[in-house]
Structures are given as structure tokens and as C-alpha cells.
Symmetry: D2
Subunit: 265 residues, 4 copies
């Protein structure tokens, strides 16, 4: 399972094996299993029962730390067919779209399901996510990724083109990760509770211009366009400096609140 | 209450009144209440029963939108005596420290309680936060801020100097928002479950150097130093451009994982 | 004069008086002159003959340093009616547009003449700048600013709307600081030597889109769009950290090279 | 020669051949010469006499543009053994250190000579640069790079360790590109005219702290620490967006003004 509450790794647990150069391996512990890395083999039976945070050695003597994976490491190691969202953007999105315990929301499209997993982890059992995707193979991948962390009950996957409208109403927040969100704003308005939270991420300025136009036309308010840059540092106390290179752009984030159309008359 | 699940505002609800220039007002709806702004008076009785997202007018005819406040707007309007953490940093921190539904964690110090509120909103009823603060007036303010959103059950406020150690053990994650986190790393290690998540935010490079030294000495691994910049755009489709000015620095974020000290022998 | 080559200030020199909080005052030294600041009076006769870099005191005892102004301080203290260009952008522009000793170039419009002054300082006596501006009062201000540093011989001010075309041909580089540079690209091509350097600065993305379209239509090559961010740090060795706030946006810089239209046939 | 003033390429000219994917080739035109690229051969005789900005074809039919190289392209294609300075940093440095026509200055160390070339191009014939370097092979490379653009008269290369002091006095500006500039500040003070311009670039925060301490001890004023970030955009009018990745860090820039030590007594 993901995040057992004990102090030691148990059979079936999802574990993070972290090598010396910050190289990650995320695996479920299986009785008699073996995990092969280019730094040597780790035997699952040696790991089962070991305290979290322990240093373990491969058969070649290379050290690994036995850790529970956090949600950021989960999405970092998610199998993907598509561009996935980054932690820097997802984190800000959670706050801006009020994705907290108990939230009910829609996302489209699902993609590889990295945002899906974070939302599922945050909303808890009394929240729910409806996740739309037209491509079967993406949906299957996302479902598999979600099952890995045991949170499939919190998400309903829907295989449907949102051009036909959303199946839900009075949803609290709705996120579109699609190239043309501006084509669906009228449908978004129907699915959201009045005053609901809308969000999107778009790579180009041209798309942002179109989305702003569509949001304005449908009387969305509190519109925000922003971008988030994450800069890593070399974590060396005697040579503290930023890393040489960084991701310069993932996408522009757009947030807005729907309004009650009746009140405008 | 905060975030009612209906489609209209009810007595007792926490509401966000948003004026035309993105000016926020956050108030609880009280029968026969009046809310005075410099753009005119709004009568609570006119708001109670109105659908979320409605446009309402002050007695001077100035428009406001009636919205439910999201967690970002909650912390934005939190009464504060201190520098508070920004949404850009909190969001990333949630993912890096695995603060999700069900998490048990420690923060010190509480400050005005802006991070406290976000954590409480995310961890849900089966999670718990222990929040340390030595200053009475800060703790009272944070408690009041938390009560406003009805989440006081999820947090235990502790009035104690952490020099004397933490009262908990096997905590999953621990965040220090203090000027000298490097003095407490040994105590952090005792409070965290082996392999637990540690985080801190520090304004100066000199402090980061000291913290890195302390973390290394106590065998923390997976150490990350990073900073997050948020750039807002003017959300005008015909004049799309970044805002003129921005926050250049809030703090350096430091994350690390504790290890099992026994395994190092 | 500006930048005398001696070691002491002389009558007629342009001097920078720098107070303790990095507050600048830029004045010409005049016999028997007095300079009043809110920190006290400085008598010019006390400054004339004093070595550069000396600490001098106002009649109230407040310290100032007597310095020669560098070109960056010159433009920082330039009297302006308009938004002026920033050193971060001008510096990069010099390299991208090959503005070096001996260059002949055009700029339009002149504005308050901050870029004008830097170009004049760099190109030397064997270079020349033709500076177009339609507003008389701006041109007079720019001329006055340029005269202050004694470089008026290097610039020809032209009061003419560039819609009517440029008076020069075979110019090496041409910079447009106007809201609608995309309307003049055909004229730019006629003024530039084939293969010449073109540059512009624009605040909005919408303008950049239009300029790119115009440059492509006129077969400009090597097109670059970029932006430069400058982050200042608090220069305290025990509390090294970025300043709290920064300029988030001055403009997008666009550079391109003209081509020989005949060779495309 | 570099930057002929005519409209066509001549024998002996330094030319930039720019292919379709912004790939640069910088070569001198030699009678009967051939230039081989993986996109085909270009015959120099076909280029000599051709107008600047012309499109020329390799023997395989691949197009190149015939351009004069600007100073930015010169340093971009400079042969290097070392990390070189970037245009974004050099440009700002020119303004902050008052490197304009007629300036006399010192740099140490020379390295591959990229800054050397820009300074030489800017200061003109009535300025002069003294460039210190201890490594013979670096100095030879820098001299060769400078000769390529015909500016060797403006620079005196000095093969000497600056621990022994600078040979010049009353220099207007002095730039140190060395790992330990803080060890030479007393010598810098002796070489600079009182009130002169000092600058340095350093990769780590730890070095910045040491340099600030040294500058303060020697009564330098107007100390500035800053960093410059350059973000490139994809120059496509229908898909305008930042490039995916960028250089996150080259170095911290530090600038200061020396003072007259006598006046402090």
C-alpha cells in the first residue's frame, strides 16, 4: 500500500529506493521479489520489515535509502505518454481552485493522470473527481497509475468527448488541460455551481488570448493569468548556487470564477 | 460555514464579496447584518438566499459578486501580525512534504496561521496537525483564523518552545518556519518517523548554508533547495503582458528526508 | 565635463553626490554654487579640487561621496517625460545590434533620450546616430540631456514622422521604440544596409505577434524574441538575499537581420 | 576585416553564414577558398562581391544567408577553453562599469577573451584595455580571437599573477573574473583612480559573501549585487511562448565604487 502508517516497510508497500545521485526507483514490495538496477540487485525479502529511512545495500555494495514515496515522487515516477503537469503548477492550482478535503471536481483531459493522482490524494474519501478523456489508452494508463496508490475509489473515469457536455452539475471546480479550452466555456458554466472555480493551463500566448476572450464573453470574474518558475539550487553548503539550467516554461495558468448568469439580466 | 455545498448563500456562511477592482471582502452572513464599504452598504438579508455567483449592488449602486471564498482567498484575507507564507510556496510544499488527506504533521511556529489553515483544509478529519508557537497572542490569532473556517478540530495548538523537544513521535512530516531551524534538527529527527518529510523556508542564503550543514550532519537525504517565482499577467486579451512589478523573493524552500540513524552504524 | 581623466573634480565637471541610502544627486560643479539637499547644503567650492571618491560633509554633517557618474547613473538621473529604457535591456541591445565604436545607426522615437545617451557614449566620434522624434518637447529634452554629457556632436536629431520614410540609407542598425513598429518594416528595410541589424522593444504579446508577422513578410531572418529580468540582492554579507520586490516586466526585446530582397527572386 | 562599411562582401571580410536552423558559421573570405558544412560546400569566390544579406546556396542546394557578424555573434563563436561570459551579463556590465568610448580599464583574468573582444569593440582607439592572465595558452587564444576582429591594438595582454599587483594606476574601471576576487581588493584600490568602477562575477553565494566583506573593509561604496536572467521565446507568431528550457544561472554580478582612502581619516 501507499503510505503505511508504521515505522517499517511491509509486504505490498509501495517503496522509494533512492540511490546516491538522487536517482529514484519506485516499486511495490513482493515476497521473494528482486529489483535489478545497474548498481546491483536488491532483494525484496531484505527490505520487508526494515525500518523506513534505512540504508540498504545492493549485492554490489551500492547504498540505497528505503523511503515511502511522497505524492511529488509518485507523479515524478508516473508512467506517461504525454506531457505531465509539474509540481510547481499543481501545488498553486490546488490553492487557487480550492481543491481541499471533500471537494468535488471535474478535470478534462485525464492524460497520464498525474494531476488526477494529486487531486485524489487531497480530496479524501468524501470528495470526488470526475475525469474525462477520449483516448482509451490514456484512460487505462491513468487508472493503472491511480490504482498503484490505492485511490481509484475517489475518481470516476469518463470516456467521452466534452463537446457533448459534462454529465455533472453543481461541481465546485473544473480544470481543463486541453489545447482549446476556449471552445468549452459555455459547457463549463453549465457544469459548475454558480461561482465555481475554473482553471486551465496553456503553453502559448495565442491560446491565452482566446481563452480570456471566451471567459469574458461568459461573464467569468476574478480572472487571473500567471506563470510559476521553479529554480533549483545545488544543495552544497560550501558552494551554494542555482543549478545551471532550469525549465523556462511549462504553461500559463489561468483561473476564473463563474457567475450566476441570471443575475446579469 | 465555509464552503456550503448548496447553490445559494445561507445565514452563517462565510462569503467573499468581490468588487470591480479585484478588491476582496470576506465576511460571515449574519441576519440583519450590514456591511459597509467605501463603495456603499450591502445588507446581509439581501445576500442570504441569493445564488452563488450573483451580482449584487451596494446601496450606492456599485456591483459586487457573491462568492464562496477558496482557500487561497482565505489566507489572503487572514488577519496577520507576521509575514505570512504565500500560496506559491505553500502549494509546492504540500506536494513536496506529502501533505495529503490523512497526514499527521507538525509545524513550528504557527505565526498567524496561514499555512495552518491550508494544512487543516487538506488533511481532512482523519489527519492531524500539531502546531507549536511560543507567543500567546499569535496562537490566539491563529486559532481564531482557523475557527473562522470551522476546522479547529484538525489542529492541536501547543504553546511550548521547541527547544524542549516535540511531544509527538513518528510524525510523517514536519515544517519549521523559524529563523534558526538548524538548531533543532536533532529534535526534528526524534519527532519524525524514520524517512519522514522535513521542510523549512528561510529568507537569507546565510541561513540556508547553516541549515544544509545541520541536515548533512544528521544524515538527512534527498535534500532540495529551491525557490518559486510567481509572475502575474494583466488579464487583458488585447494587451496581454506581465504586471509591471512582482514579488522577487519570499524565501528559499528547503526539503529533506530523515533517515534511520541505526542503519548508519 | 563628463568623465574628466584626472584624479580630482574640476569646475564644470558633472559630479555624482551619493548619500548614505544610495540616493543620487547629479550636478555640474559651478564656481560659488550651492547644492541643497534635505540632508544639508554642499558648497561647490569645497568640492572643486577634491579627489574623486572623497567623502564630503553637508553643512549639517551628513556624508556624501564625490564620484564621477557612469553612463548607468546618467540615464538613471535623466530627466524624463516618458517611460525610459532600463540598463538591463539597453546593455543586451548593444551587443545584439552591434552598437560598438564607429557604428552608424537610427533610432525612432527619441523619447527622453536615455538610449540616445548610451549609444552616443559607445559609438564615439567616428560613429553617428540619427534620432527621429515627432514631438518637439521630447526632442528638446533629449538634446538637453545629451548636451549635459557633452556628446551632442554624435547625434543628429530629426523632427519627422517616420511614416514618410527615413532620410538615410545603408544604415548598420535601426532600433524602433514605438507602439507600432510593424507598420514601418518596409521603410526599415530601405534604410538598413542589406543584412543590417533591426531591434525593437514592445510591452505586450499582441504587439510582438504583429511584429513577427511583419518581419516574416519582409524576409527578415535570425529573429529573436527574448526578455531580460534583473534581480537585485541586498548587499549584506550576513543577510544575503534578493530584494523583496522587482520589476517584473519592461518589454519584450525583438531582434532580426534584414536580407537582400533581390536575392529572393 | 570585421564590419566593412560597404554593401557587399569583400575578400578578407569576416562573414557569418547562417543556415536555416539558426546554425552559425563564422569564416574569413579567402580567394579560391571552400567552406564545407554537412549541408554542402560553399565556394568563397561565389560569396566575394555578393551583397550582404543575400541568400546563397551550397552545392547541395541548401540556403545560407551571407551576413556580417555582430559582436554578439563574434563572442558566441569564439574559440574557448573556459566558461565564457554571456551577452546578458556583459551588456549590463558595460553600463554599470561605464565602459564606453575612450575608457581605460583592466580585466583579470583574460580567459578565452570573450569579454576582451566586446570591451575592445566598445572603447575605440582612444580607449585601452590591460588584460591580465597567468596561463600562456589562454592568453594566446584570446590574442588570436582578438586579432580575428582586427582590434589587437586596443588591448595590452599582460602575463602576470595579479598577486604581485597591477602595473597601472588611475585606471577608470577594473573587472575581476577570478574565483577569489576578495583576495585582491587592496590591489584593486591601488590600481583604480579614486572613485573608480569595480566589477566581478561569481558563481556561488559563498564567494559573494566573502567579496562583500572585503569590499566593505576597503570602504568601497555603492555596492550592488544582482543577477540577470534571459528568457528566449519561440519566435512563432501563431505559437508565441517561451522556450522550454533556459540558463538558470551564470553568476552573481557585483559592482562597487572605490573611494579616496585619505578622506576617511
Amino acid at each position: 500500500m501507499w503510505m503505511n502508517s508504521g515505522i517499517a516497510a511491509a509486504e505490498g508497500d509501495l517503496v522509494l529506493l533512492m540511490g546516491q545521485r538522487q536517482n529514484y526507483h519506485l516499486i511495490p514490495l513482493i515476497k521473494d521479489g528482486e529489483f535489478q538496477t545497474h548498481r546491483g540487485i536488491l532483494y525484496h525479502n531484505d527490505l520487508i520489515g526494515k525500518r523506513w529511512g534505512s540504508k540498504v545495500l545492493s549485492h554490489k555494495g551500492n547504498p540505497f535509502y528505503l523511503l515511502q514515496p511522497g505524492i511529488e515522487e509518485i507523479i515524478h515516477t508516473t508512467k506517461r505518454n504525454t506531457q505531465i503537469m509539474y509540481a510547481k503548477d499543481i501545488g498553486y492550482l490546488l490553492l487557487k481552485m480550492n481543491i481541499v478535503n471533500g471537494a468535488t471536481m471535474i478535470e478534462a483531459g485525464t492524460g497520464s493522470g498525474s494531476l488526477t493522482q494529486v487531486i485524489a490524494a487531497v480530496i479524501g474519501e468524501n470528495g470526488h473527481l470526475f475525469s474525462y478523456e477520449t483516448r482509451d489508452e490514456m484512460q487505462n494508463l491513468a487508472r493503472k497509475n491511480l490504482r498503484r496508490i490505492g485511490l481509484e475509489d475517489r475518481v470516476t473515469f469518463i470516456n467521452k468527448n466534452i463537446e457533448q457536455g459534462f454529465d455533472q452539475e453543481n461541481i465546485q471546480s473544473l480544470f481543463l488541460d486541453l489545447p482549446n479550452p476556449y471552445d468549452y466555456i459555455s459547457l463549463v458554466q453549465q457544469a459548475l455551481v454558480p461561482g465555481g472555480f475554473f482553471g486551465s493551463i496553456l503553453p502559448t500566448m495565442n491560446q491565452v488570448v482566446k481563452l480570456l476572450t471566451a471567459l469574458r464573453r461568459h461573464a467569468f470574474v476574478n480572472i487571473e493569468v500567471s506563470e510559476i518558475m521553479l529554480r533549483h539550487y545545488q544543495a552544497e553548503e560550501s558552494k551554494l548556487r542555482p543549478a545551471d539550467r532550469m525549465v523556462a516554461h511549462t504553461g500559463y495558468l489561468i483561473f476564473a470564477r463563474s457567475t450566476n448568469p441570471i443575475s446579469h439580466e
